[in-house]
């Protein structure tokens, strides 16, 4: 069965509160797709609507082209990995994995065989008889994945499954998850607030804020070609400059800001007179030599050495600093506090976007 | 409702609703409502049903107040006295239990440590697994005219003649206090246990005398427990039947005994229902008073 997942103008309300507003997208069969956003942005609500724990207030969810309205979670070709894993504490590891088969009436021997195969897949071959409470955090994680895979879902839904793990294990599990997905070849829909997870694992990402899907695209797309102020500020670090569009030149726009006239790519086709935000990533900035374009005259506040790179903080608009980062190539100059500095960036590395909410740091 | 069915599935939802309906409607609400209705009826023979006497009446309640119409006495002194005595004695038993249990509850909750406290709790519970009737019986052995206490006092030369503790109701009050003591200890213990011992230390540090620590720190904290314990003990004492039957003197009646008589020898269920309603009202008034005085909710009392 083809297992593309479509959200067709889906809106979900809880009383007065709109949790998800007009979500509209298609996730391809076999894709690793992430919903990325801060907590409370509606991403978990979308996941629960796909898995069947919630019905959309408006619009529909389609899996493999079939409208899922009225189909309960136990009848959908999806399996969900819960944030807290929700393993059954009173069953052995193998019984946990075989639960989905048990409730489908699969015989005991067959169940045991499938459980053993999956235990091998997650490298816990000899631990099937253990109690869940005897496993480490990472092992529980893998058992949860195996339990979900046992029912051979067409779509695996993952609700921030790594958030409870420590950093090292989290990074290890990212690689492992991606490898498992490629091995089993089914659609993974992944929910996270951690952009590192989303960027490293996903084929495509939907960035969400306040119930609205802001942008859908590959990791590179959302990072390099952010379409809204929120995406630009939430995915990676970015320096915003507030101003007004004063003119357009080809695919660029000119914006008057507190630091003078700056030029960036007019990706949203803004017109002169409109308020805008111009975003430049820290790594796109450098010290200006000669008469480069997009020069910013500022003052060094302080600098931070972070090993492979080096960050310089400059006085920006209001309370917000401008951050510039440079790779450590071995010959970095030192900057003193209060020193005046001229920095610049290339127009093709800057984005001019409509004013909008930015993500909190 | 749709959410409820969606969440639990049709079969389980049906079970949940049927079970709760049966309990709430058939076992709690309707029987109480019917008893209330019944208390306003004449006691009828089957052939009188539907007849001229099958109407609402206050006569059952009037009987409690004034006795049989045409009696010499103005009021039904016998029953009213029993009623008042039941209430006052129950309040007395409640206060006695509180006074007895508070130090123990405080000691186990705040002073005793780990295993010791655990063993004490176990010891507290043990006597209450013994049947209520047998516990009352034990008090009969203790307080009877040939009982242990009389024998002891006589041997010591304090008494010449045995005291009839049963007739003097001493056995009854002691037995009631004993019967429901656990229901005072546990709410008190639970409430005091949740108090951070540092608060007591802090108060002591500030130079509070011990009684003030209890009055100002421990008791206010334990309010829900006190309310809960007092309510339970009062209710059970006022509603007790076994202990008064066994330990009450021949002349002393408990209000529940009169109710019992209406149902048994008296054979007037309607009259008995009216008396039961009066008892229920008295209990209700007590609970509401406690809730008001202690400013606690019903949820905190019945846990």
């Amino acid at each position: 069965m083809s297992a593309d997942v479509e959200l067709d103008h889906m809106t979900i309300r809880f009383g007065e509160f709109t949790a998800v507003k007009d979500a509209n997208l298609k996730i391809e069969d076999g894709e690793f797709f992430s919903f990325l956003g801060p907590s409370g942005c509606g991403k978990t609500t979308i996941l629960r609507a796909i898995s069947g724990f919630l019905e959309p207030t408006e619009g529909e969810v389609r899996i493999g082209g079939k409208n899922m309205k009225g189909i309960g979670p136990n009848k959908r070709p999806t399996a969900l990995i819960f944030q807290n894993l929700a393993l059954f504490p009173l069953m052995s590891v193998a019984d946990n994995i075989a639960f989905g088969l048990e409730v489908r009436g699969v015989g005991k021997a067959e169940r045991r065989k499938r459980a053993d195969e999956l235990l091998d897949l997650i490298a816990l071959g000899d631990q099937g008889n253990k109690k869940v409470s005897e496993l480490s955090g990472g092992q529980k994680q893998r058992v949860a994945i195996a339990r979900a895979l046992a029912v051979e879902p067409a779509v695996l839904l993952l609700d921030e499954p790594l958030s409870a793990l420590d950093l090292k294990l989290r990074q290890h599990m990212r690689t492992e998850l991606r490898a498992i997905q490629q091995r089993v070849g089914i659609t993974f829909i992944y929910i996270t607030h951690d952009q590192g997870e989303a960027l490293t694992m996903s084929d495509r990402i939907a960035v969400m804020s306040q119930g609205i899907i802001q942008q859908v695209g590959t990791g590179t797309e959302v990072y390099e070609n952010s379409q809204t102020a929120f995406v630009a500020s939430f995915v990676g670090e970015n320096n915003p400059f507030h101003g007004k569009v004063v003119g357009t030149e080809g695919s660029d726009a000119l914006v008057d800001t507190a630091f003078g006239r700056l030029r960036g790519r007019n990706v949203r086709g803004m017109q002169p007179g409109q308020s805008a935000m111009l975003f430049v990533r820290p790594e796109s900035m450098s010290f200006a030599n000669g008469d480069a374009e997009n020069v910013i005259e500022s003052q060094v506040l302080h600098s931070e050495f972070e090993g492979s790179f080096f960050s310089v903080f400059l006085r920006g608009e209001g309370a917000k600093d401008i951050v510039m980062s440079m790779t450590n190539s071995g010959d970095l100059p030192q900057y003193q506090e209060g020193e005046s500095a001229r920095v610049a960036f290339k127009a093709e590395r800057a984005l001019v976007l409509p004013v909008g909410d930015v993500a909190d740091e | 409702m749709r959410d409820f069915f969606q969440r639990n599935g049709a079969v389980i939802s049906t079970y949940l609703l049927l079970a709760v309906f049966f309990w709430v409607v058939m076992m709690i609400v309707l029987p109480q409502a019917y008893m209330l209705n019944f208390s306003f009826r004449h006691d009828l023979l089957p052939n009188q049903i539907g007849g001229p006497k099958d109407v609402y009446t206050l006569s059952n309640y009037e009987y409690l107040l004034f006795g049989r119409p045409g009696d010499e006495e103005l009021f039904n002194y016998l029953h009213l006295t029993v009623f008042l005595r039941t209430i006052i004695a129950s309040i007395f038993v409640t206060l006695l239990d509180f006074a007895l249990c508070y130090p123990i509850a405080y000691y186990i909750a705040q002073v005793a440590k780990g295993g010791y406290a655990r063993s004490m709790i176990l010891l507290l519970i043990l006597p209450f697994w013994v049947n209520e009737i047998l516990r009352a019986f034990a008090f009969r052995i203790l307080f009877g005219t040939s009982g242990v206490i009389n024998a002891f006092l006589q041997t010591m030369g304090i008494l010449d003649e045995p005291i009839d503790f049963l007739r003097a109701d001493v056995a009854l009050y002691a037995g009631l206090s004993y019967a429901y003591i656990l229901l005072m200890v546990f709410p008190l213990y639970n409430a005091i246990e949740s108090l951070d011992h540092n608060q007591v230390e802090a108060a002591r540090d500030l130079g509070s005398p011990w009684w003030r620590i209890h009055w100002r720190v421990v008791m206010p904290h334990a309010k829900p427990g006190i309310a809960s314990g007092c309510t339970l003990v009062f209710m059970l004492s006022a509603g007790a039947l076994a202990a008064p039957q066994i330990l009450g003197g021949p002349s002393s009646l408990w209000f529940t005994q009169i109710i019992y008589q209406w149902f048994n020898t008296g054979g007037n269920w309607a009259q008995g229902s009216a008396y039961a309603i009066v008892l229920l009202l008295a209990c209700l008034v007590f609970v509401l008073t406690v809730m008001k005085v202690f400013k606690v909710s019903l949820g905190e009392i019945a846990r």
Binding site: P73, L80, K168 | M27, P31, I104, N131, G239, Y260, F263
Partner: protein
């Protein structure tokens, strides 16, 4: 002696008195069971005897009451455990605004004198029986049935409270996980919820049975022509007294002690099991770390 020493001594003395108050009556009764006199008394001591124990089993009335009590206890378990469970589950799902009203109604039987529950059950179900034209000789009109219903009215509230306490620790996502894996609602109930509640089910059953077994106030109204152990006992105690009652008490106390010890041991064993699992998890965690460290 310091004033603190005196205070400590007084506290100890009080505790001693308190427990004396709790246990002395029972000890006296226990002693009376072995005293060779026709009247239950400890003094004067006429010599040790065991004859009151066999005489217990010759009392047909008491045996009949005992058997009835067992059946009623089983009936009450069968009624109040499912009701309490359902009521507790509904409590966790009922709308916040309704919750207080619902709680007040279902907990009210606990706060009501037992005699009132007995009376209301008697008058209502008697009327209902007339209405439904139940046979006068049928089980419906036997005191047993009414007693089961009457006792269950408040015992269901006890079992509900037991289930509520356990349900508060239930992780609802387990139900969702099971559903998501394809289980039907009925399967979720039997395979996830019931196993989780198993300890509470046993506690509730035990509580229901024991409460029923020793109930008097409600039973005395609903039992009518039949009898239970408590009604027989009450009758005997009122009539005048025989030492075999003390013997019965000794038996009950012995059973109770054994039961209490068994529960205590079971609890400790359960705790040890939990500790073992925790230790194993910690070990697995350490191993995982070691493997991760080795991989780097």
């Amino acid at each position: 002696m310091s004033s603190q020493g005196i205070q400590k001594l007084m506290v100890s003395f009080y505790i001693l008195l308190f427990f004396l108050f709790l246990f002395a009556p029972l000890f006296m009764m226990g002693a009376a069971a072995f005293n060779d006199v026709e009247f239950p008394q400890v003094v004067p001591w006429e010599g040790f005897t065991l004859r009151w124990f066999p005489s217990l089993f010759e009392d047909d009335l008491m045996i009949e009451g005992f058997v009835n009590s067992i059946w009623i206890g089983i009936g009450v378990m069968a009624l109040s455990v499912p009701i309490g469970l359902a009521a507790a589950i509904v409590m966790t799902q009922v709308h916040k605004r309704l919750q207080t009203v619902y709680y007040t109604v279902v907990v009210s039987p606990v706060l009501m004198p037992g005699v009132i529950l007995g009376i209301s059950t008697l008058v209502f179900w008697d009327k209902l029986g007339t209405f439904m034209e139940a046979e006068y000789e049928s089980f419906y009109y036997s005191g047993m049935f009414l007693t089961i219903v009457g006792q269950s009215t408040f015992i269901s509230a006890y079992t509900m409270l037991v289930f509520l306490a356990r349900l508060q620790r239930f992780d609802r996502t387990q139900e969702e996980a099971a559903l998501d894996l394809g289980a039907t609602h009925v399967q979720v109930f039997w395979k996830v919820l019931i196993p989780f509640l198993r300890p509470a089910i046993f506690s509730a059953m035990g509580l229901a049975f024991l409460t029923s077994f020793e109930n008097y106030n409600t039973t005395v109204f609903t039992i009518q022509a039949e009898s239970t152990l408590t009604t027989v006992l009450a009758g005997k105690v009122r009539m005048g007294t025989q030492p075999d009652l003390a013997a019965l008490a000794v038996l009950i106390i012995a059973v109770t002690l054994i039961g209490a010890l068994a529960i205590e041991i079971a609890q400790r064993r359960e705790q040890r099991r939990e500790w073992a699992a925790k230790a194993a998890a910690a070990k697995a965690e350490r191993e995982a770390e070691a493997i991760a460290a080795a991989a780097e």
